[in-house]
């Protein structure tokens, strides 16, 4: 046989690659968010779905526009902008006007992500930074919650009509007895409470989080360190008479599950070593509890993760794998 006509590529090893790529990872994150999104639609009505669609769409538009304007290669295919948009819609109240979501996505995608160099270069989680910006600009809209117990409203397209109510996180510090009287632990776990669009059902988020761990998209280190340290602090410094009950309300209330499984595990803004990830998770847990206990905000997940995002470089600088062939004692010297 004549082999002269072959066009051979003489590239460097390795010559095979794993099937998993950035796009498939982002797709897995979107799949993992679906149970929580479905619950949100069930509880808040189709407005939750519309808000998610507007948010995803605007996130992708901003990314496309920015890269078009700067004549950079388009990166919508990696789906990272879609994930950011979806996450942002899930950490905002379902009643938030659409144009505010569009604005929040501008901050998330253009200011936080693209201005720092795009995917992989941002030092803060874009969705959480977008939420923080919205809280700073539109504090009242970002903290008014509809009461999900005002009636089952799957077709409710005008969520704003519904009575507003305090969320569990607003009650847990000031009126824990009132909270336990209003919602049972199972209400909290399954998601019959008020709160941001995507964070109310710990159960659905846990299903999504376990899916991500099962698919090896994330490892257990950050969620376990984060949730574990919050649980431990709740057990040590409880409100009321039953520490375990207080701990469960602390875990299932607010954005902890969404934060621990989907936000803190963001690759770009978390440490690369497993040891560093444990430190990062514990740091998130500590700051969350401090803000919840001593801060003026009822909820601390968002800011704790953003603050820890800023420490990632220093964690990565100091927590490195032990060099191969160097015995531990020798490495310490």
């Amino acid at each position: 046989m004549d082999y002269k006509a072959l066009k051979l590529i003489a590239s460097s090893n390795p010559h095979i690659r794993n099937n998993e790529d950035t796009r498939s990872i982002m797709l897995d994150v979107i799949i993992a968010l679906c149970p929580a999104l479905a619950w949100s639609i069930y509880r808040f009505g189709f407005r939750a779905l519309l808000a998610a669609a507007v948010s995803v769409g605007s996130a992708m538009c901003w990314e496309w526009l920015y890269r078009k304007a700067l004549k950079k290669p388009q990166t919508l295919g990696d789906l990272s902008a879609a994930v950011t948009g979806l996450l942002l819609s899930m950490v905002c109240p379902v009643t938030l006007p659409y144009w505010m979501l569009v604005l929040g996505n501008f901050f998330a995608i253009v200011v936080v992500k693209q201005l720092y160099g795009g995917l992989g270069k941002n030092f803060m989680n874009p969705a959480l930074a977008g939420r923080a910006a919205l809280v700073a600009c539109y504090a009242s809209q970002m903290t008014s919650w509809i009461d999900p117990n005002a009636g089952w409203a799957p077709l409710n397209l005008h969520g704003a009509d519904v009575v507003t109510a305090a969320t569990p996180m607003a009650m847990i510090g000031e009126d824990f007895a009132g909270l336990t009287a209003t919602y049972s632990v199972s209400d909290m776990f399954i998601g019959f409470v008020g709160g941001s669009a995507g964070e109310i059902s710990s159960m659905m988020l846990l299903i999504g989080g376990l899916y991500l761990i099962f698919r090896k998209v994330i490892s257990w280190h950050i969620p376990v360190a984060y949730i574990g340290s919050v649980a431990l602090l709740a057990l040590i410094f409880p409100h009321g008479n039953d520490p375990v009950q207080y701990m469960l309300y602390s875990l299932f209330g607010g954005g902890l599950m969404l934060g621990a499984f989907f936000m803190a595990t963001d690759y770009v803004t978390s440490p690369v070593t497993k040891k560093g990830q444990l430190i990062f998770g514990v740091g998130c847990g500590l700051i969350t509890v401090f803000i919840r206990t001593f801060g003026s905000f009822p909820e601390g997940v968002c800011y704790s993760i953003l603050l820890m995002n800023c420490t990632v470089w220093i964690i990565d600088k100091h927590v490195k794998p032990t060099r191969f062939g160097v015995v531990k004692e020798a490495a310490k010297k």
Binding site: A10, N13, P14, R17, N18, T22, R323, V326
Partner: protein, 454 residues
């Protein structure tokens, strides 16, 4: 209990295409092209000229310094001594022999009268004259490893991990030639003066493990088989030592630093052949596989057989073949031509025509940390990559880039499709160049200072 090292990746092993096919003898080729560089070290000097008649086993290349001699693999006439393309890239001086199909054995090939009575020095001399090198691909001269290791080494390890996907030559040798492997191990045990030799085999070759154990039991040989987890790069020399002894080779060191010596299965078979028959390394088992090969096979052929002949014996290549690799898919060298020939270190010949070439137009690091987890040398490939991009020599040194063994695990696992291994090759060269430059500058300064003083 199976043992393992830290890190690594789990590529699909793709061995089913050839692991049940017996090693096939290739019909004698019309011509062989034997490169003079088939070992780690400077190329050999040819000892024959155009027109000379040579016989199988006759020495045709002599080494100087670190190296191993090269022998004629067929009998016939030398038709050219000239540079030819070879599998490690570029051209190298080669001896081209036209086969006369007489299969005459050279007078130089003499079987030792009583192989079991040889002294250690005599055995090392035989290994040296047989041109045996590390036939897993590193091609380090075996006699140097033995001579240098005696006295330091208390653990002799045989590398039967065969962790690269596709390759099944060692597996077949375990099934078809266990007596050669076990016999070779016995000679190694004698040379090193150890009471047992350990063969590490990945658990995806259970029948190979069984076959070796049967032979060991029959011979009551001082050999044990250690099953290993199936994980790339289990067969990396340092990883194998780590898995079996629990000890890590110090940075920049050799396995002998922790009392280990590692030999490839093929090299062990060659030791056995040299001790019992006096025949040097003139043949090699090559796994021909991959989506571009019509009929994948394990083929044994004379060293120097043109790969086009080997490919023809496997039904040729499919249309659309875009890659030809000498070696495994993780560490092998991609070839730009089929004019190369089989060498001592070539364990496989792979051709790809499918979707193996997964690249991205816009490779982007998403800091997922998979490379950090995969690196068997405990490096942080994502940071090394960044430093190479920015040509930061000091940072590269501080991040221990020279520890990188270019195994490709990080690039394999990278979801951002970064060209990690490729950039580390460039980075290591940068570090070496920089060190040379600094050394030259220091010497020039010193010379200038001396001149001033005088």
């Amino acid at each position: 209990m199976a043992k393992a090292f830290f890190g690594g990746v789990h590529p699909n092993d793709m061995k089913a295409a050839t692991n049940e096919k017996a090693i096939e003898q290739l019909a004698p080729p019309k011509q062989v092209i034997i490169p003079m560089s088939q070992h780690f070290g400077a190329p050999c000097t040819p000892t024959v000229q155009k027109g000379d008649h040579v016989k199988i086993g006759q020495k045709i290349g002599e080494f100087k310094g670190l190296g191993a001699p090269i022998h004629a693999s067929v009998s016939g006439t030398v038709v050219a001594v000239e540079p030819r393309p070879y599998s490690m890239g570029g051209n190298v001086m080669s001896v081209v022999i036209d086969n006369d199909f007489q299969d005459e054995i050279s007078e130089e090939v003499v079987a030792p009268a009583n192989p079991d009575m040889l002294s250690v020095e005599e055995m090392i001399e035989i290994v040296k004259n047989a041109g045996i090198v590390g036939m897993g691909g590193a091609t380090f001269p075996t006699h140097v490893k033995i001579a240098g290791g005696i006295g330091q080494v208390d653990t002799v390890i045989i590398n039967g991990a065969e962790c690269e996907p596709y390759i099944t030559g060692d597996h077949r040798a375990m099934l078809e030639r266990p007596e050669q492997i076990v016999g070779g191990c016995c000679y190694l045990a004698k040379m090193f003066g150890v009471d047992k030799v350990i063969i590490g085999v990945e658990m995806n070759k259970q029948n190979g493990i069984d076959s070796l154990n049967r032979t060991i039991a029959e011979r009551k040989a001082p050999v044990v088989v250690q099953p290993l987890h199936t994980r790339y790069p289990q067969g990396g020399e340092k990883q194998l030592c780590q898995a079996i002894t629990g000890k890590q080779v110090p940075p920049g060191g050799l396995p002998s630093a922790i009392g280990c010596a590692v030999f490839n299965i093929n090299s062990v078979c060659s030791i056995y052949k040299a001790m019992t028959t006096g025949m040097p390394v003139v043949r090699k088992v090559v796994t021909v596989s991959g989506s571009g090969v019509v009929e994948p096979k394990n083929i044994e052929c004379p060293i120097g057989t043109p790969v086009s002949v080997v490919l023809d014996a496997c039904g040729g290549l499919k249309d659309g073949t875009f890659k030809l690799i000498a070696g495994g898919p993780m560490m092998g060298m991609a070839q730009y031509t089929t004019d190369i020939s089989v060498t001592k270190g070539m364990g496989a010949l792979l051709a790809f025509a499918g979707d193996e070439n997964k690249t991205s137009d816009n490779p982007t690091c998403i800091r997922c940390g998979r490379c950090v987890e995969a690196c068997p040398m405990h490096l942080e490939p994502l940071y090394l990559y960044m430093y190479v991009q920015k040509k930061r020599i000091d940072e590269l040194n501080a991040a221990n880039i020279m520890d990188c063994m270019e195994c490709g695990a990080c690039a394999y696992i990278c979801p951002g499709r970064l060209h990690l291994t490729q950039s580390f090759k460039a980075g290591k060269q940068m570090v070496k160049d920089d060190a040379m430059k600094k050394k030259a500058a220091a010497e020039a300064e010193k010379a200038a200072a001396e001149k001033k003083g005088a």
